[in-house]
């Protein structure tokens, strides 16, 4: 384990060096404020696709940013597997650069999560990543997790003014440790690679195509520190269906691959339009134990995403309109296995497999932004949108269902105040309001163990959360100024607070607060 940790640290240091060295070079050329970077992100349509070949068509200006932050959250309006409270420390850096006609961008993120009193999870760092086959114990526990994520994108110039090529990669590494019996020590990585091409038949039209390959692995080692007390734990099979065990948990090995592709079309005229559609298929297997592996379960995910974005830019104001759609259908596959103790085999035989559960999440949303332009930033910005989400999960035999339908409305305003010309002192103040209206929901457990805590504690409380209407209010504040009057480097201090309130009988509220300090080069 120590060797693996050292390897992570070395890889991380190497990547930091690369990112920082590019930032130092860029620092000579650009000065950027927080509002300008936000506008750049808003205008960068290709950056929101999975095709790196089109990044140059976003015409990004060069920038780099480095920030550190601290965030915390508290409140009982949460899913059972989320922490009752927690905090995280973050480091974020990103930047872009041009070498001749090639465009490069990269980012690095570090996050240390201290999650307090999370329930029903003793085997996975992120219980919401689409893997329902986990171990749940009955002891609310802290988790200490660390996450590293490195990304890069390369985009070529257009060859023959028609073909641009790109390549993107991301590498995520996480480690996690549950702090109470059943302890779980976890190591996770995800590698994702995406080559792409954009064909430009004319100046205003761009057609893109890209391919995505991704590989994921998470290892989880369960054990008890107090060997005198054997813990009750449950192998979750979905929607509360579970098998109970006694002891110190077990070792789980999750290995997954994903293949996918995307198609994009951009029209860059008076109105900038981008249509993109992505499809990926992901399979992830759970193998129980490393010594004598047993097929535990598998999931097969089909994910469709589509996006239609419009940008209409004027000298005074700009309009941004996005339509998004996402559909994830997942099959939960269980195996019938039997231990063969004969001398020729000595291992687990898989006799049968079948789809025992299906999970479907559908999201459709629209978002509109209106900005009053000020240079490459904005003076004020209005936002409004709505997202419809439908969850439809089913355990097939014996039948259980869990469904929830919600619409989340949001509106926001931001004002970029110029405090002083000296050092370009600015204050970005905002107000975000949201309201989630629950339309419908049902949870029916039809299995044999309605008294299991996986039903009464985990699924019923999760269902209550998913079907709760709530209101939210958020206030973001960003103060920024140049480090020196003649410097291009912009120092910024960000603070944001958000509160969610629900009228549900089971929950009260949830508060999020964060603080960041950073420099834009």
């Amino acid at each position: 384990m120590k060797r693996i940790r050292m390897k992570y640290i070395k890889n991380t240091c190497a990547c930091l060096l690369v990112v920082f060295s590019s930032q130092l070079a860029i620092a000579q050329e650009q000065t950027t404020g927080p509002a300008a970077l936000e506008m750049l992100s808003q205008r960068s349509l290709w950056k929101k696709t999975s095709n790196p070949a089109g990044l140059q068509f976003d015409q990004p200006f060069q920038y780099s940013t480095l920030s550190v932050g601290y965030e915390l959250y508290d409140g009982n309006f949460r899913r059972p597997q989320q922490g009752g409270s927690g905090n995280r420390q973050t480091v974020h850096t990103e930047g872009n650069y041009r070498i001749k006609d090639y465009y490069l961008s990269g980012s690095f993120d570090y996050r240390r999560d201290q999650i307090k009193d999370a329930n029903y999870n003793a085997s996975i760092i992120d219980p919401f990543r689409g893997m329902p086959y986990i171990i749940a114990d009955l002891n609310p526990s802290d988790w200490n997790n660390q996450h590293y994520e490195m990304q890069f994108n390369i985009a070529s110039p257009a060859y023959n003014d028609q073909f641009s090529f790109g390549f993107a990669g991301s590498y995520k590494v996480s480690s996690g440790a549950k702090q109470r019996d059943i302890r779980s020590e976890n190591y996770f990585y995800n590698l994702s690679l995406s080559p792409g091409v954009v064909y430009t038949p004319s100046e205003k039209h761009h057609l893109g195509l890209n391919f995505v390959y991704s590989n994921v692995k998470e290892e989880s080692y369960g054990s008890n520190v107090n060997n005198s007390v054997d813990q009750q734990y449950y192998e979750l099979l979905g929607l509360g269906t579970a098998v109970n065990y006694l002891g110190g948990g077990r070792s789980n090995n999750y290995i997954g691959d994903a293949l996918g592709g995307g198609f994009q079309y951009q029209y860059a005229g008076n109105v900038n339009v981008l249509l993109s559609a992505d499809y990926s298929v992901e399979a992830e297997d759970l193998q129980v134990s490393f010594e004598v592996p047993r097929d535990g379960a598998s999931v097969l995910r089909h994910i469709w995403k589509a996006k239609l974005a419009f940008i209409k830019e004027g000298t005074q104001t700009s309009h941004f309109l996005d339509f998004n759609y996402c559909n994830r259908n997942m099959d939960g596959i269980q195996y019938v296995t039997q231990r063969d103790n004969s001398s020729s085999q000595m291992g687990w035989q898989t006799l049968f497999k079948s789809v025992r559960s299906t999970y479907s999440t559908e999201q459709a949303g629209v978002q509109y932004h209106l900005t009053s332009n000020k240079g490459n930033a904005y003076s004020w910005k209005l936002s409004a949108g709505a997202v419809y989400e439908k969850l439809n999960d089913e355990y097939l035999l014996p039948n259980s269902v869990k469904q929830a339908e919600n619409v989340l409305f949001n509106a926001g305003i931001k004002k970029n105040l110029a405090l002083a010309d000296k050092k370009s002192k600015q204050l970005l103040v905002g107000l975000d309001l949201g309201y989630n209206a629950n339309i419908s929901g049902v949870y029916n457990y039809g299995g044999a163990h309605a008294d299991y805590p996986t039903v009464t504690g985990l699924e019923q409380n999760d269902f209550r959360y998913l079907t709760s209407s709530y209101a939210s209010i958020g206030v973001p504040l960003v103060y920024s100024q140049k480090i020196k009057n003649d410097s291009q480097n912009m120092l910024f201090i960000k603070a944001q607070i958000q509160a969610q309130f629900t009228n549900s009988y089971q929950f009260n509220d949830r508060i999020f607060a964060g603080f960041n300090v950073g420099v834009n080069f």
């Binding site: 596959i333 789809v355 044999a448």
Partner: protein, 419 residues
């Protein structure tokens, strides 16, 4: 340069093919549906030709699924089964042509039902009824005591054995053994193929001492063998202990000065790792998760000496360990009870299904709870006839507070506390 291209292409192809394999494997799975099987249950008992009317029970412990049905005349079709691993048990009373009643049973344990429409044959035979049965077991131990310096406690383990017949039985020479693996595990040992299904494999064997008629057990009486026959409720042991073991008839004395010999009669040590010596362990502890226990008696005129007869012992052929286990002939065994962590450990059964087709459990360790056999009938004198269908899942109440001589069973007259 060319070789770099070839290597890159090969790497991409390998990556692509590995990904496709995983995705194709998952994509092959079809949606689960309920399955059907066709059961035949031929009688192996002379004079009984029909098994119609016997009860057949399908239990899938992992799924919590149970289905009961009556057998028909020839083939019985069972619908609505979820594919999985099942314990299938047939039991019930039938009459032969002369009108005599027989209790029949048959079973298939850990049977994989993964083919729709499969034909399954389960032979049924007359049930062997034992006069001596294990009536109560407390193996889980007790949680930490509030007394400083004391912790979790397992020395209060005990095994109670009951005379379920209407005759006096002499206990002298009755053997008690725990089978291997000591804790239920799916990693089962590999035994010599020549043994067939003729043996159970014991880790340690003890024997009731005596001259042959020294320890009579009357009908309706039971006796207790304790790991340590002390009053466990004393502060130096564990004040939370649910039992006072000082009235036990026997104890497994391992000559540990810290837990000195008690008034209960010491069991005679027979076998441990090919030796008659007790070894150096400070106590005879069976698994607090639940073990597999047998009582057996060597038939008159036969000798049973697994220490000196190498044919009556073996090592686990699955590994290189040299630990020796005693072979206990199945025909010697009067009763067997299998206990495990919980119902889901039935896929780790150590006891042949002919002795115990089920498994009992208390669901936790150190919870001060035990298992006790259910009452089938109460005699006129108030003593019970306990349930014995060779299926401890059904025969035992689980999670009971341990108690000596429950349901009105009586103490033998030679117990040291009433002498």
């Amino acid at each position: 340069m060319k070789s770099i291209h070839i290597i890159t292409a090969l790497a991409i192809l390998t990556l692509f093919s590995a990904s496709c394999k995983k995705i194709n494997n998952a994509g092959d799975a079809e949606k689960a549906g309920s399955y059907q099987v066709n059961i035949t249950a031929p009688s192996q008992l002379a004079g009984v030709t029909s098994t119609q009317g016997l009860k057949i029970v399908f239990e899938n412990f992992a799924e919590g699924f149970k289905l009961e049905k009556e057998l028909g005349a020839n083939i019985t079709t069972i619908d609505g089964l979820i594919p999985g691993i099942y314990s299938i048990n047939i039991s019930g009373r039938v009459e032969d042509g002369a009108g005599d009643a027989f209790y029949l049973s048959g079973s298939k344990i850990n049977y994989a039902i993964v083919k729709n429409g499969e034909a399954i044959e389960i032979p049924v035979n007359g049930l062997k009824v034992s006069p001596l049965i294990i009536s109560e077991i407390f193996y889980a131990g007790t949680g930490a005591s509030p007394v400083p310096g004391t912790g979790t406690y397992f020395r209060n383990q005990f095994y109670e054995i009951y005379n379920n017949s209407d005759k006096v039985i002499y206990l002298d020479g009755l053997c008690f053994a725990n089978l291997t693996p000591t804790t239920a595990t799916t990693t089962l040992p590999l035994w010599p193929a020549a043994d067939g299904s003729d043996y159970a494999y014991a880790e340690r064997i003890w024997k009731v001492p005596g001259t042959g008629t020294q320890y009579p057990l009357q009908a309706g009486e039971s006796f207790v063998i304790s790991q340590f026959a002390a009053n466990h409720k004393l502060p130096q042991y564990n004040v939370n202990s649910p039992v006072d073991g000082s009235s036990s008839e026997f104890e497994f004395n391992m000559n540990n000065a810290n837990f000195p010999d008690q008034p209960a009669v010491d069991m005679e040590h027979v076998f441990y790792n090919a030796s008659a010596s007790k070894g150096t362990l400070p106590q005879y502890l069976t698994s607090v998760f639940g073990g597999a226990y047998v009582i057996f008696k060597v038939p008159a005129g036969e000798t049973y000496d697994p220490v000196n007869n190498a044919n009556l012992r073996t090592r686990n052929l699955a590994g290189t360990a040299t630990m020796q286990y005693a072979k206990v002939p199945i025909r010697y065994i009067l009763d067997a009870v299998e206990a495990g962590n919980n119902e889901n450990l039935i896929n780790a059964k150590r006891v042949p299904s002919v002795l115990d087709a089920g498994m009992t459990y208390v669901g936790a360790t150190y919870n001060s709870l035990g298992v006790a056999r259910k009452v089938a009938v109460v005699n006129a004198d108030g003593t019970p006839i306990l349930m014995d269908t060779n299926n401890s899942t059904n025969d035992f109440e689980r999670g009971v507070v341990p108690q000596f001589r429950r349901h009105g069973s009586r103490m033998p007259s030679w117990n040291h506390t009433i002498k």
